[in-house]
Every structure is written in C-alpha cells, then in structure tokens.
Amino acid sequence: MFLEKNLTKPVPLAGGGDRKAFRWLAVLAAFRAWLFLAILLATFEIWARVAYGGTFVFNPLNVKSIALFTVTPLLLGLGQTFVIISGGIDLSVGFTMGLSAVVTAHVYNWAAQFGNSGISLLVAVAAGLGVAVVPGLINGLLIADLRVPPFIGTLGMYGVARGVAFLLAKGTTVPVQGGLLGQIGNGETLGFPNLVLLTIAIILGMHYLLSQTRYGQHIYAIGGNVNAALRAGINVRNNTIALYILSALTAACAGIFYTAKFSAGAAQAGEPVLLDSIAAVVIGGASLFGGSGTIIGTIIGALIVAVIQYGLVFVNVEPFWQFVAVGVVIIISVLVDQIQKGARK
C-alpha cells in the first residue's frame, strides 16, 4: 500500500455524463508525468531513427548517461519533495550542495595526512553532510520559530551558503588529491555507475520515509491542513525543522557526489541544477500549495528534465532549446493541475 495511490488516484464521483470530461482530466492529471516521459522518449526514438538510423532508448550508453544526468537534480529534488509537500520551498539547496562539495574536497585533502584513504573518505563524507546541517537547521528555525516565509528564508540562505562556499573555495575550484573518492565517483559495480546505485539507495530510503512512516504522514498532514495537524498534536515545529535539515542533507549528498565525480569541489556545483530540481518535483505532480507529491513523481520529473537535456544534445539541437523545453513542460504540468482543480470545484 503506497500513499501515492491514495493521493494521486483520480477522485471518484457519483456523477452522470457531464462529469466524463472531468474524469478524463483527473486521469490525465494523475498520470501526466508518465505521459510526458513516454511522449519524450517516443519523440527522441523516432527522431533518432529517422535522422540517424540509430536508436535512442535502446542504446545502453544513452541510458547510463541519462541516469547520471538525473542524479544531481534528483538528489536535490528528493529533499525538495518533502519540503514542497509540507507547503514550503527550499531555494538554498543549490548552494548548500556547493558548500558540501567544497568542504568535502578540503577535508578529504586535509585527511590525507592520516595515510589511509578509507579514513579520508569517511571523514570527508561526514564533514560534507555535517556542514549542510547548519543551513538546514537555520532554515528550519527561521521558518518554524520566526515565521519567516520559506521562500524568503531560504532565499537568504541561498546567498549566505553561496558566499561562504565561494569564500571557502577562495573563488575557485578545490581539486582533490588521491584516488579512492574519484574511484568511487567514476567507478561501476556490476555494470552500474556507483553514483547511480548510491542514488537508488537514497531514493529507497526517502520513499520509505515519505510514504510508509508516521513522519511522512505528518508531512502530508502539515501540507494539507496545518491547523488540523496542530490540533491532532503533531509537533509541527520539530517536523518542519527536520524537513529543512533533510533537504540540506540530500543536497549535501549531491555535493559529495559532485566532488567524487569531478575530483574537485566547486561552490557553483548546484547553481544550474536548483531550478531543474524544483521543476522535477512540480512536473512529478507535487502542488506548490502543499499536501501532495510523491518520490516516484519526482523521479519521473527528474527523468523528464534529464531526457530533454540529454536528448536534445543527442539529436543535435542547439542546447539552449532545452531551457525552453523544460520551461514549457513545467507550465503545461501546472496548467493541467489547475484545470483539474478548477473542474473539481
């Protein structure tokens, strides 16, 4: 039993024929992300066959590349899904990711003195995660205790994390010396890129947390009706703080992965990905008003963004069209949601 079944299921109605259009809209809205993905894949497949006589979807190299393309926006999007379901938003994740990437690189280099790359790795990962708790906690306190609107609070933190990350990196990238981090970041296990496998593990954890635990249930309740949640005795304050820490932690994972993949930490690592991650969540069916959204939806959303970006390059379209395409998909996605909500009333 997954919660998303309950949440995305078209709303049943005891209605006559005039409700038929509404019913179709509901089905369309519930599965719009899957539909988009299918249409995109089909389009690129036909395009590749007609223009190059090759295949797009059935080329393992493409699949692997898209999977790797998906990792960063998806990781940012996982935490963002929780935040958006609660009715908030976290704009700081892009630079929290950069901050973690830079700190991971610095600490990894510093820990080289212990002469054991395993220890270096552990210390660096712990530092990368640990440093992200700071912006996450501050975001949470600002929003839960000081009633700062999430958009403003995390926008402020976006600036702070950005500045601190660039200061720590002295305005440049921080190269990593030594092998283990790079080996993990670029290696494969059983033919699957390590970073993709690690991301899948994180996805499973986040999906479980959101759809199967009391914490996840409370996040939906907070997003659905915060007064009901309060009256039911749910600790909205602590849950909210935990949300923003969780969001910062998934961003930190993206930062650590970045440093592992490129053997260098960069403050701007997450900058171009922030909007992609929010796009992934929204395309995946989450409402910016809170109360709905799923991890599976966000995965599909992130795949859609990645397929657009990679696919357009693959079929040799000017890369700037990808911004247009992603933008159009976001707008259509939100429109379908609005129309369906309107029809319900």
């Binding site: 409370h218 309740a221 949640a229 005795g233």
Partner: protein
C-alpha cells in the same frame, strides 16, 4: 429524559473570565450529564465561545472550578482536554482533506506494523477501524480510499465526529456543526447527535438555528453579555421565551 439521577459528566461552577477590560464570563455554572444534549444559545459576543474554549482547555478561567467525572481538573492545553475525553468539533473542520478516512481518524496517532523490524504505517488497519467506528454512527463513506476532499461537507463533518468518538470522547462540543451544510446533510448531523446521545456521550451544542436546538437538545442554557440569563428544559420552553432571554434577559 431524566438525567438528574446520574452523576454529571461535567460540572462547571461559578466560572469567570476577563480579557483586559472585557468581562467575557461572569459566574457561569453549567452541568452536563451523560447522554444529554445541552444547547448553548446567545447573541454574538454573549460568551458562548469563551465558555466552550474554557471547557476545551484553550482558556483558563480566572475563578471557578471545572469538575469532570466528579473530579476537579485544571486544563492547561486543548491537548489535555482531548486526552481526558473532551473533544471539540470546529466549524472550520480540523481535517486534512488530502488524507483518507483512516489517516484523518488516526491523525497524530497513527498505528504502525513492523515488517522485519521496520515500522510501516498501517493504512489498511487504520481505515478498517475508522470505518467500523463510523458505521456504528450510521455513517457510510462511499470511497474510503480517496482523500476527504472528494467527500461532501457533511461527510467530512461526520469523519471529524467519528474521530472524536473513536478516541473515546465523553464530552463532545459542537460549534455550529450544521452551519455550512445543505438541508439533507444538516438532518444527517442531527441523526448523528441522536446516536451519540444514545451511546452516553454528553454533547454541548452551539447553534444559531433554534429549530435545530429544539429538535435535538434536552436542555438549553442562554448567555447574555457573559452571564447565564436562563436555563430551561427544552420540553418546558419555546422559541419565544428563548429569544426573549437572548435579547432582553
């Protein structure tokens, strides 16, 4: 109904409450018996809200005592009141309409199943238990797996009542429960109140609609400017007298 030979569920004695210069309640006493519906009537600002908020732990009285099941209690928070079995159904429905029936009835008190030691929210179990409670109140939900936003206002109201009953509320405070509902749904809520009465719950019922009050209540207590200006058995009064008490004392 002859309630006087039972022990009262709730006994408020000489409650007063002042907000700055406003005397919101002045020496109000109230008794509620099990299986009884007590209506609170009064014009806007008469003190109805303050009175029920005092009973439900939102406000602390300046003077006076509250006895619940024979014992003096001091309610510090609405939470304590609810844990004790005093539940309020608010006009603005305290339900999360993106969750299903089970999720709402068990909101904040979700049950979990363990699978290999990992806790999993027991959606099916919660839904079944919730539906059973609702069935006892003669409430039937057509699509129990759907989020509550797909239900009518009356059905959502019923779920809120069902939640209170599921958690063994003994005193149920209903603030304008029919205000936002259509006529058939109002009737349904009235039926539910009759059911609650039979099961021994004490109901405090606030309504602007005297017809509703006369239909389900056993007694009526009229407030005016924070004071109790009259208390009548429904069987021994009529609309005119109640209105006279409300406006003129």
């Amino acid at each position: 109904m002859n309630a006087s030979n039972k022990d009262p569920l709730l006994d408020l004695e000489h409650i007063s409450k002042r907000f700055g210069g406003l005397q919101a309640l002045k020496d109000v006493s109230l008794t509620l018996y099990p299986g009884e519906v007590l209506a609170l009537a009064g014009d806007n600002g008469a003190g109805k809200s303050t009175l029920i908020k005092t009973i439900s732990g939102v406000h602390k009285p300046d003077t006076g005592t509250i006895k619940y099941c024979g014992k003096v209690i001091h309610l510090e928070t609405p939470h304590q009141a609810r844990d004790a079995g005093i539940e309020t159904i608010y006009q603005d429905l305290a339900i999360a309409d993106n969750l299903d029936v089970g999720g709402n009835v068990f909101l904040g008190r979700e049950t979990v199943k363990r699978i290999f030691g990992l806790p999993f929210v027991d959606r099916r179990g919660m839904r079944q238990e919730a539906l059973e409670t609702l069935k006892d109140l003669d409430i039937h939900i057509q699509h129990p797996e759907s989020p509550l936003r797909s239900l009518s206002g009356g059905q959502r109201q019923s779920v809120a009542i069902g939640r209170a009953i599921h958690w063994k509320a003994r005193v149920l405070i209903m603030d304008e429960p029919t205000a936002a509902l259509g006529v058939p749904e109002q009737r349904k809520v009235m039926e539910i109140i009759e059911k609650l009465k039979k099961s021994g719950v004490g109901v405090i019922f606030i309504s602007h609609n005297l017809n509703d009050i006369f239909q389900v209540s056993d007694r009526i207590l009229v407030l005016r400017r924070g004071e109790k200006v009259g208390e009548r058995l429904i069987s021994q009064t009529n609309h005119d007298e109640v209105v006279r008490l409300m406006v003129a004392g």
